[in-house]
């Protein structure tokens, strides 16, 4: 068989076309569920259960959105989620950087050992410790308050401490050495020199904490009981439990609950990618 010789450029061209083909196919597959969600959210009940299903709703049932929001007190849930999320983000931002700085730049006996222990705790999921935590918080009278969801955030987080430590390590040591010679205290170096340089990493911490708290389900499920304390995640699940077949209203409220996250993502995409990369490669 005579071999077909293609120039390197032609081969590259063919490869690019193949890549586009697969990317196109893949993104259609990935985006279809979202389109399905939005399409369903705009359908009247009788249009849901037809075969084959129609992608374009007719008529367009905008009323699913206000109707879904009225069926359960979603405004209350949004407020609750906002409170818990905001305070959690503040807690992480207050507590994590200084600990990370201590791990990255200060020398103290036991530091390396404790850092390894910190990394090891990344292996232990909340699901393992949730029973004793529930029992303890119950004894403290914290159940059915936001305290179990917020207060632990003010005591650091292994993941964020690790992330910020990696970031501090990339800042040249000469900067802090110069400040030290000028008589700057450790806290002064941290506060005046390191922290302002850390803004991108702090943004990463804030974004991820926002995302995880807003999306968290198991925490609020265990620690909250009464309806007026529910977060949006629990509220949505309750709604699903009560009106499981009303897919129009369900998909409408799902879309609304998802919206803040998507919004956040589009404005902070760069930090998302950076954050994942920062923790990913260095591991």
């Amino acid at each position: 068989m005579p071999a077909v010789y293609l120039s390197i450029n032609a081969r590259k061209r063919i490869l690019d076309i193949l890549v586009y083909l697969f990317l196109g196919l893949g993104s259609i597959i990935y985006i279809l569920p979202f389109l399905w969600q939005v399409s369903t959210s705009l359908k009247i009940q009788s249009q849901l259960f037809v075969f084959p299903p129609k992608w374009i709703p007719q008529p367009v049932a905008w009323e699913n959105y206000p109707r879904g929001l009225r069926m359960v007190p979603f405004a209350r849930y949004f407020l609750n989620s906002s409170i818990v999320t905001t305070l959690s983000v503040i807690g992480r931002l207050v507590s994590c950087p200084i600990v990370a700085y201590s791990f990255a730049r200060l020398k103290w006996p036991g530091r390396n050992f404790f850092f390894v222990v910190t990394l090891a705790t990344l292996m232990i999921p909340f699901q393992v410790t949730m029973i004793p935590l529930f029992i303890t918080f119950r004894k403290l009278g914290w159940i059915d308050t936001f305290k179990p969801l917020i207060i632990p955030c003010f005591f650091g987080s292994a993941f964020f401490i690790f992330l910020l430590r990696q970031f501090f390590l990339t800042i040249p040591e000469e900067l802090s050495d110069a400040a030290k010679i000028d008589g700057c205290s450790h806290f002064g170096i941290f506060w005046r020199i390191m922290l302002p340089l850390t803004k991108p990493a702090l943004a990463v911490v804030a974004i991820f904490e926002f995302l995880w708290t807003w999306n968290d389900f198991i925490g609020p499920l265990i620690f909250l009981n009464s309806e007026e304390k529910y977060t949006v995640a629990i509220g949505l699940q309750q709604f699903f439990g009560a009106h499981g077949a009303d897919w129009g209203a369900l998909m409408a409220t799902s879309t609304i609950v998802t919206f803040p996250v998507i919004l956040l993502f589009f404005f902070t995409q760069r930090y998302f990618i950076e954050g994942i990369t920062l923790t990913g490669i260095k591991a």
Binding site: S27, V257, F265, I281
Partner: protein, 299 residues
């Protein structure tokens, strides 16, 4: 004089070091070490939250291992789910990352599309997929019907319920994909240039350059995803409640059931201990075998 000065600065560093790390030291003790110790202790107790815990030593474990067939069922389900969803997810994430690693137009857009499912609230995703997997009116079976395949009952079937949840998991691999992408971009370009001069085709380049250079990233993703698969809870709680016929009852949903439905905190603690041991053993096995297949560049 210089000697004492040095010591003074050392002591000062130590005091500051501990002081700065104090929030996390306290947090670690209160929210990590203490609960881990307690969960172990409670696993030897009978405890219903209302009356004080009673020491029953190994009875919980005896029941778990020898008298509770549901437990073994959940262990099997968890291993099945982890064993299928993790490798499948890694492969899809790697494939997407490889496609995105070429310098082509519209890359940020594609990246966004693939990443988006990973950040959507899991409750919302789970509800959406119940609808997608609806045997009669769902998206998936309708698409299958278009190519002439009669789709299964998915979440209503004991055989297809786990694959259904696994499909959803694979849809959510965006985070893993981004880490792969970062790993790919770390591979020096010269390696490919040299290979090209030597006449290695794309497949050979992938096999002999990309894959070996990527093993640290694969290793990292494997550990992270395995741990996260073992924790699966929300999907099950919302989509199936563990059914049908307990076919999707994994370890954590079972733990939740025992602890927070039946208030058998001691028994649930023994399940939590088993969960911890399973994660621990899996991580150690991956870590131990990694020296054979993970290639670390000498720096």
């Amino acid at each position: 004089m210089p000697f004492t000065l040095k010591w003074r600065s050392k002591i000062r560093d130590t005091i500051h070091g501990y002081l700065f790390a104090l929030p996390w030291i306290l947090g670690f003790l209160a929210f990590m070490l203490y609960p881990i110790g307690s969960v172990l202790l409670y696993s030897f107790c009978s405890y219903d939250v209302v009356s004080p815990p009673q020491w029953i030593f190994l009875e919980n474990y005896q029941e778990l291992f020898f008298k509770d067939p549901i437990f073994w069922n959940t262990v099997f389900n968890t291993l099945y789910f982890t064993g299928v969803s993790v490798p499948a997810g890694l492969m899809v994430a790697l494939a997407l990352a490889l496609l995105l690693n070429r310098s082509i137009k519209g890359r940020p857009l594609f990246r966004t599309i693939f990443y988006l499912p990973a950040i959507v609230p899991i409750v919302s995703t789970a509800i959406l997929w119940v609808w997608i997997l609806n045997p009669q009116y769902g998206l998936l079976n309708n698409l299958l019907a278009k190519i002439g395949v009669t789709g299964p009952g998915w979440l209503a079937s004991t055989i297809w319920s786990k694959p259904g949840i696994i499909l959803m998991r694979i849809w959510m691999v965006g985070g893993t994909m981004i880490i792969f992408l970062a790993g790919l971009q770390d591979i020096p370009r010269q390696l490919y240039e040299v290979a090209e001069i030597d006449g290695a085709n794309v497949w050979k380049q992938f096999l002999y350059i990309t894959l070996p250079m990527l093993t640290p990233t694969i290793f990292f993703n494997l550990v992270i995803n395995t741990i996260s698969a073992f924790q699966t809870f929300t999907e099950v709680y919302i989509m199936t409640g563990g059914g049908p016929a307990r076919s999707t009852l994994f370890l954590v949903p079972y733990l939740y059931q025992q602890g927070f439905r039946y208030f058998r905190m001691g028994y649930a603690s023994s399940i939590a201990t088993v969960l911890f041991l399973m994660i621990f053993i899996c991580t150690i096995v991956i870590l131990y075998t990694s020296s054979r297949w993970v290639y670390y560049e000498r720096r």
